[in-house]
């Protein structure tokens, strides 16, 4: 089937065999120009000057004599008009930018539809007043309106003033927004002399009133010629939205204008598939599968188009192209906002804005880490310096960081980046920082000509120049955060175009680029409601009813246009594959497009429906990881110098985690902790008790006396523990209060206890506080030093008590065992094991107490009502305190020996109890 543009090329050559350089051709897209040129080149036998190609927008801009400027510049100009007639509540430029593009959009629509701006905006104001109308208060007298209502109405009241002033500002500079150019061109077309003999309008569809006026006029002057591309299928069906515009034109224009309407849908397609896919990657997999089944010819000669209704699918599609694809042409681009350069600028702005908001001359550590860990930062400073800075931040637990701190660590590299880590006082400093970065990165690109990075940086630099010019030209105040949103607004739209072989290979494009083109094979992706058609979008201040009244375009018209694009790309195709997403997610609802439903019900030929099959599920069985106990002597020897009860417990819990932690020494790195955690509370209380709590014989009075001091000390220790973090408010304040309360509870508990004890004539004598003890044990002829810090050893009456303070909650069952083998088999008994090991090393160092009645237990600060939680044996549900005598010590020694013996001889493997893995650092290694 002959392509539409091929026919146009033939007609051009026939009509203008000698010279077509004085012809203008208006086409919908750049890609159609490439294809038209291609068809033309096949029909000429010597070089020719090409006709002038325009998009409809460019053509009308040319007619208007004004230059249509970019959206950002327009917002700067519009803000001038806004300030000339401000509403009651005046927005800053930043706030203004959040709605100004919507207003610009409305100005464009109003002018393109040749509607009288004054009546629209007056009507709009009245509509808004009506919205605030109530029975009680039915006059529009401003006295009766509340402040916010008044503000609201006053906002709409100014629209027309802004419109007038904005038009004036622009026309003085011979500039325009698009609608303005349309309106001007349409109003002047009568007397306009054109530099082209003929103007051909090719493959357009819906026309705005201004476009119609221009084309009508040029047709009457016998300058314009219009070529439609359509199919009877929708053109003749009076209910079909795809043909709506053409049917409207039918009465107005001559028969010849419609000779392009064909009957292509009559021909049965070779293949017509609709494939339902979950989410997006699966769609690109289907594309891959389809393409790999195509013949080489179909892939080589631009006979195949992949049309993306959602351009976000570009990268997935590219990454899944099968190897039989040799050439591709993409008319789309890579969004600048997804580049690291943008995210780098973004994190810098984030840091500066946060610093500005906090009004203190310090940077927040997360922001600093974000910057120094950013991939691009590594080209500005050495790995060593970056690493040092990062380490220092976490070691010193710096939450707020000064410039000098950064300077000290980055050393000579600081010079380069000093503009990042200076407190920006105004936007000039931010602009200068960005400018410096562009220069630095450009220097780094030396020798990387034509790299993607150079394109990104160049595009970024162009945007930067524009912003810089706009700010220099307009002298109203722009804040740093405004600059940030200007950057993100501009760069989120900015795209770096791809380049491929334009006429070879498969063609990947968005739906708009497919206009006027024809392909043998068409694969359409994301044919879902919300994308194709787009449906309602909220981007206008003008309500639907008002738009209808003034004959402006609404979402209904825009849906009809997309319906036309959809059917048109299908009409000449022989193999059609339509893919849609079945899952509802952020990419739009999972509802398949109504265009599909419509096709299924009205298309006469055969359509096959498929669902995406997908791959087998991954059933991962829990893999065994075994570290052979082989040539680990050195590591074990290192560990043997400091055998802590917690390391033994770790082994009991999971031998593999013991291996990783104590032998391989692969550990989780320190992180800055902004807020106090359980261990900080614990340390503060322990330290305070150690330093303040009386030793020797204590009484309720002596304990009472130190109470105030102790609480003060807890606070002091807590503050030290938090390394300068603010503890006067927020979470940290609460943690501090908790620490004090826990300490106070403990003192009061002991006070009561002592009172009772003393009244019965008993005494309490504290022998040791935070005493460090060690004992060397020989296992398999090797020495192992068992070490531990015992919180407290005291003598109550005649009983010797080995005590470990726990600021967390301990319950009786934690310290009671049924048998000594429990200690080695049940990790839940870790606290009992720890106490027994403490008792063991203490008594080994103090043999004089061996004959005394010795017990060991925890004071749980969150469970003081239970008193000392003593290591006990549970026999038939009864708990019997274990008196630590020689036999018990032997048992403990045996157990320690057994564990150490296992560490020396047995392989390390992961625990079979998955519940133990929940908080383990090594989960990622074990795959649990």
């Amino acid at each position: 089937m002959k392509a539409f543009l091929e026919k146009i090329a033939e007609r051009l050559v026939k009509k203008f065999p000698d010279s077509m350089e004085n012809i203008a051709i208006v086409l919908p897209s750049k890609r159609s120009v490439i294809f038209l040129k291609h068809h033309l080149s096949k029909l000429i036998n010597k070089p020719i000057f090409l006709p002038k190609f325009f998009s409809i927008e460019e053509f009308i801009e040319e007619l208007s004599g004004y230059r249509v400027v970019d959206n950002l510049s327009l917002q700067f100009y519009l803000y001038q008009s806004y300030l000339e007639s401000p509403p009651i509540h005046t927005d800053t430029f930043e706030k203004f930018m959040s709605w100004s593009s919507m207003l610009l959009h409305d100005f464009n629509e109003v002018d393109r539809s040749l509607v009288d701006a004054k009546s629209v905006f007056t009507n709009l104001k009245q509509v808004k007043e009506l919205e605030n109308w109530t029975l009680e208060d039915w006059s529009f007298n401003s006295e009766n309106l509340t402040d916010s209502q008044e503000q609201y109405v006053s906002f709409y009241n100014q629209f027309y003033n802004w419109y007038v002033s904005f038009n004036k500002i622009l026309s003085d500079k011979k500039l325009a927004y698009q609608g303005m150019a349309y309106k001007k061109a349409a109003s002047e077309i009568e007397n306009k002399s054109l530099e082209w003999e003929k103007v051909w309008f090719v493959g357009l569809n819906a026309l705005t009133l201004s476009e119609q006026k221009i084309i009508d006029n040029l047709k009457n002057r016998d300058i314009a010629r219009v070529f439609w591309d359509a199919d009877q299928y929708y053109y003749n069906n009076s209910n079909h939205e795809a043909g709506e515009f053409l049917r409207v034109q039918r009465n107005k224009w001559r028969e010849i204008d419609f000779e392009g309407v064909g009957n292509y849908f009559e021909k049965e397609k070779q293949q017509f598939n609709i494939i339902a896919c979950p989410k997006n990657i699966s769609q690109s997999k289907v594309v891959s599968e389809l393409l790999s089944s195509f013949s080489e010819q179909d892939l080589q000669e631009s006979k195949t188009a992949v049309v993306l209704a959602d351009e976000g699918l570009l990268y997935p599609v590219l990454n899944h192209l099968p190897s039989n694809v040799k050439d591709i042409n993409v008319t789309m681009g890579s969004p600048l906002k997804n580049t690291p350069f943008y995210s780098f600028i973004d994190v810098i702005f984030q840091m500066q804005i946060r610093t500005e908001n906090h009004k203190r001359d310090l940077f927040y550590y997360k922001d600093v880490l974000n910057i120094i860990n950013h991939p691009l930062f590594s080209s500005l400073a050495s790995f060593k310096n970056i690493h040092n800075l990062q380490n220092k931040i976490s070691k010193k637990n710096k939450v707020y960081i000064s410039v000098d701190f950064i300077k000290n660590e980055l050393k000579s590299d600081f010079e380069k980046v000093n503009q990042i880590f200076v407190f920006w006082k105004n936007i000039n400093e931010s602009l200068s920082c960005v400018r410096q970065l562009i220069i630095l990165f450009r220097e780094n690109l030396s020798g990387k000509k034509n790299s993607i990075e150079s394109e990104i940086l160049f595009a970024f630099s162009k945007s930067f120049n524009l912003i810089n010019s706009l700010i220099s030209e307009n002298n109203f105040l722009v804040e740093i955060k405004t600059l940030h949103s200007i950057f993100s607004q501009l760069l989120s739209k900015e795209v770096i175009p791809f380049q491929g072989e334009p006429l070879k290979g498969i063609q990947i494009m968005g739906i708009l680029e497919s206009r006027t083109l024809d392909f043998k094979n068409v694969i359409l992706l994301s044919v879902n409601e919300g994308l194709l058609p787009q449906g309602k979008t909220l981007n206008s201040f003008i309500p639907y009813d008002l738009k209808v009244h003034f004959k402006m375009t609404t979402y209904r018209e825009s849906d009809a246009v997309f319906s036309y694009h959809f059917y048109r790309i299908l009409q000449r195709a022989e193999n059609v594959n339509i893919l849609h997403n079945t899952e509802s997610d952020d990419f739009g609802s999972g509802e398949k497009s109504r265009f599909i439903t419509q096709l299924l019900s009205e298309y006469k030929g055969r359509i096959n429906e498929f669902v995406f099959g997908g791959e087998e599920l991954e059933f991962t069985d829990d893999k065994e990881i075994i570290i052979k106990n082989f040539s680990l002597q050195k590591e074990i020897e290192n560990w043997s110098k400091y055998v802590s009860p917690s390391s033994l417990n770790k082994y009991i819990n999971c031998s593999l985690s013991f291996y990783y932690h104590y032998l391989a020494k692969i550990r989780k790195e320190d992180e800055v902790s902004e807020f106090a955690e359980a261990n900080n509370i614990g340390t503060a209380i322990h330290e305070a008790l150690n330093k303040i709590y009386p030793k020797g014989v204590i009484t309720s009075q002596s304990v009472n006396q130190i109470k105030e001091d102790l609480l003060r000390k807890v606070e002091e220790e807590f503050i030290q523990e938090m390394k300068g973090e603010d503890v006067s408010k927020g979470k940290n304040y609460l943690s501090l209060e908790i620490s004090k309360k826990l300490a106070q509870n403990f003192v009061e508990f002991e006070e009561r206890l002592l009172k009772k004890l003393n009244s019965r004539g008993g005494t309490l004598n504290i022998l040791e506080s935070e005493g460090e003890f060690e004992h060397q044990l020989q296992v398999n002829q090797k020495p192992f030093t068992i070490k531990g810090k015992v919180d407290r050893v005291d003598e109550m009456n005649n009983q010797l008590r080995i005590i470990d303070y726990k600021t967390g909650k301990v319950s009786k069952s934690d310290v009671s065992i049924t048998d000594f083998t429990d200690l080695i088999e049940n990790p839940n008994k870790a606290k009992a094991f720890q106490l027994l090991v403490y008792a063991y090393i203490y008594l080994k160092n103090n043999p004089q107490y061996s004959d005394r009645e010795v017990i060991a237990g925890n004071f749980s600060f969150k469970n003081l009502k239970e008193g000392l939680l003593t290591v006990a044996k549970s026999i038939n549900r009864k708990k019997e305190i274990i008196i630590i005598n020689k036999a018990v010590l032997n048992n403990v020694e045996e157990i320690i020996t057994e564990v150490i013996d296992k560490i020396m001889n047995e392989d390390f493997r992961k625990t079979t109890e998955i519940s133990r893995c929940e908080y383990c650092d090594y989960r990622s290694i074990c795959n649990r």
Binding site: P47, I328, P340, F610, V611, E615
Partner: protein, 559 residues
């Protein structure tokens, strides 16, 4: 559902109640192949109990009587909590019934996905030994090298140890380059680098990354933080081609339909307790007007008894609504499992909200079957679409075929970075757009708004342009007598197009002008000679060629 058949077995307390009687063909044992009457009972001694709730053994074995009629994938088990879901899923796997559940469907349950995340972590922090160890562990299980894990662990902690190790696995990661990629691209490259096979989990992980980068940009560390939060909830969509029983929470089943639905566990839907907002101004001396308290039976005796009762009723309603959702999911079959009645029907049983207490409430004295087992709506109603299966084929490296449009090279010389060079490029661009002096302002404004020209250079560019255009040596070329074609495109029959900077035509002469901003070079002649040749082909004669060197003392060079 139509009430076609109603079997009710009386005398529940004395006998084993029969829940189903049907004819079938014996499928196992010595009598395999013979017609059989199957009598299915409940309350039998073979009952299995799990946790506090119980169900009769037929609730999962009863899948088998449907064999042939339904596939595993037609069956869905709906539970009230995630805990129940994993209990059922675990039990099924133990009995070799293929099953997919919420948990198994978590993207993060794939070791390949977790591996990718570990690699990303490592890329961000090259000192992260944990991630390195995890990476090696995975590689060692895929393509082992001749090292023990311990040797690997010691190596990877050393400065270059890890990159050396990767080399042994035949992998090299261009870290710098990779980190500069958008995160989606990065993930794709990693998949290729580590030869990770195509699979549903990886594919949906890519979907997640794609979604993230559309919404939140392309910052890798932000993505990893975000993923840490999301990994327990983002799941894959069950592939159409999988034949497995689905187990899910009722919550997840909203809006879906399944052929066979089973609802086990006696419907224990009630939350044990809930929290209630109350007005406690009286109790707190107006300090806290709204207070959150824990719902507790004791509240019935307090001032908040009304609030408590209301909350209780609401949660009862909630429960009923959820039950309604669960019971309306099935197309073809619905099986609900209740526990037998307790011997004494205490108050707590009656208000427990469990299924058997409902049944008791509605006077149903025992368990019954409703509907005709032979009825099949499903085959009549549903026309299943065919499955589109994909094979994983080799992929091309797209970036070798497609490149970004090179627009920077005309303005930026990266190998010779000097402001003079940039200025020359800008001037060339401006000159090619200017037809005559009147247009200078418009052209310069255009260059400003396109970002080619910086604000600081605006006036300088204007004056330089007018200097050149007014230059006595160039006057000739800007004379009004010429017919001028600026940047006019020429198409050849081979399909190439050319755009000379400026063409001047008079009746018998044709002049080609080309601007150059560097120093004169012989190669500049080739281009202009080529233009001349094309013009000659087009029929023009007396062609003169001029190169204009804007930076030189002698501006005009005739070729």
């Amino acid at each position: 559902m139509e009430h076609k058949q109603l079997k009710r077995i009386e005398d529940y307390d004395k006998n084993l109640p029969i829940v189903e009687i049907y004819t079938a063909v014996q499928s196992e044992g010595s009598r395999a192949g013979y017609p059989t009457v199957v009598i299915r009972t409940t309350g039998c001694t073979h009952r299995c109990y799990f946790g506090e709730g119980g169900w009769c053994d037929s609730w999962y074995t009863s899948i088998h009587p449907e064999k042939g009629k339904f596939n595993f994938k037609d069956i869905t088990i709906l539970c009230n909590s995630r805990k129940r879901v994993s209990l059922v899923a675990q039990r099924f796997s133990e009995n070799n019934i293929p099953v997919v559940s919420n948990e198994g469907l978590l993207i993060n349950s794939s070791e390949k996905v977790r591996f990718l995340v570990d690699v990303m972590r490592y890329l961000l922090d090259k000192a992260d030994n944990l991630s390195k160890a995890a990476i090696c562990e995975y590689l060692q299980s895929e393509t082992p090298i001749n090292y023990t894990i311990h040797e690997i662990n010691l190596l990877l902690k050393k400065d270059d140890g890890f990159t050396d190790l990767l080399k042994k696995y035949n992998i090299s990661i261009p870290t710098e380059k990779f980190l500069r990629l958008p995160i989606y691209e990065l993930a794709e490259r990693l998949i290729k680098k580590f030869r990770i096979p195509d699979n549903s989990y990886v594919s949906f992980f890519l979907d997640v990354i794609l979604k993230f980068s559309e919404k939140q940009g392309s910052n890798l560390s932000e993505f990893l933080l975000w993923w840490e939060d999301k990994k327990e909830s983002e799941s894959i969509v069950v592939p159409e081609g999988i034949n497995a029983v689905q187990v899910m929470t009722i919550h997840k089943s909203k809006g879906l339909a399944f052929n066979v639905v089973m609802i086990p566990f006696n419907w224990e839907g009630r939350k044990k307790y809930s929290e209630i907002w109350v007005n406690a101004s009286k109790q707190t001396n107006n300090k806290l007007n709204s207070t959150l308290i824990r719902g507790n039976k004791k509240l019935e005796l307090s001032q908040f008894s009304n609030e408590y009762l209301e909350e209780k009723n609401l949660s009862f309603m909630d429960n009923l609504n959820k039950l309604y959702v669960a019971m309306t999911r099935s197309v073809e079959r619905l099986y609900i499992f209740a526990k037998e009645y307790p011997s004494s029907k205490s108050d707590s049983f009656l208000s427990s909200g469990k299924l058997n207490s409902f049944l008791h409430l509605y006077g149903i004295s025992d368990i019954f079957i409703d509907g005709d087992p032979n009825e099949n709506h499903y085959e009549k109603v549903q026309k299943r679409p065919k499955v589109f299966s994909t094979t994983s084929t080799e992929k091309i490296e797209w970036e070798k075929v497609v490149s970004l449009k090179r627009s920077s090279e005309k303005s930026w010389d990266l190998d010779n970075q000097s402001s003079g060079k940039d200025w020359g490029n800008l001037l060339h661009l401006a000159l090619s757009r200017v037809n005559n002096t009147d247009e200078i302002d418009i052209v310069v404004d255009g260059l400003l708004s396109e970002g080619f020209c910086v604000w600081e250079n605006k006036e300088k560019l204007k004056s330089e342009l007018s200097r050149l255009l007014d230059h006595p040596d160039l006057q000739e070329f800007f004379d009004k007598k010429w017919e001028v074609k600026n940047e006019k495109e020429i198409l050849t029959k081979e399909g190439s197009s050319y755009i000379p900077d400026r063409l001047l035509f008079s009746e018998n002469t044709t002049i080609i002008l080309d601007y150059k901003t560097g120093s004169p070079h012989f190669s500049h002649h080739d281009q202009i000679n080529n233009y001349a040749f094309i013009l000659y082909e087009m029929g023009y004669e007396n062609i003169e060629k001029y190169l204009i060197y804007t930076n030189e003392e002698q501006l005009v060079h005739k070729i």
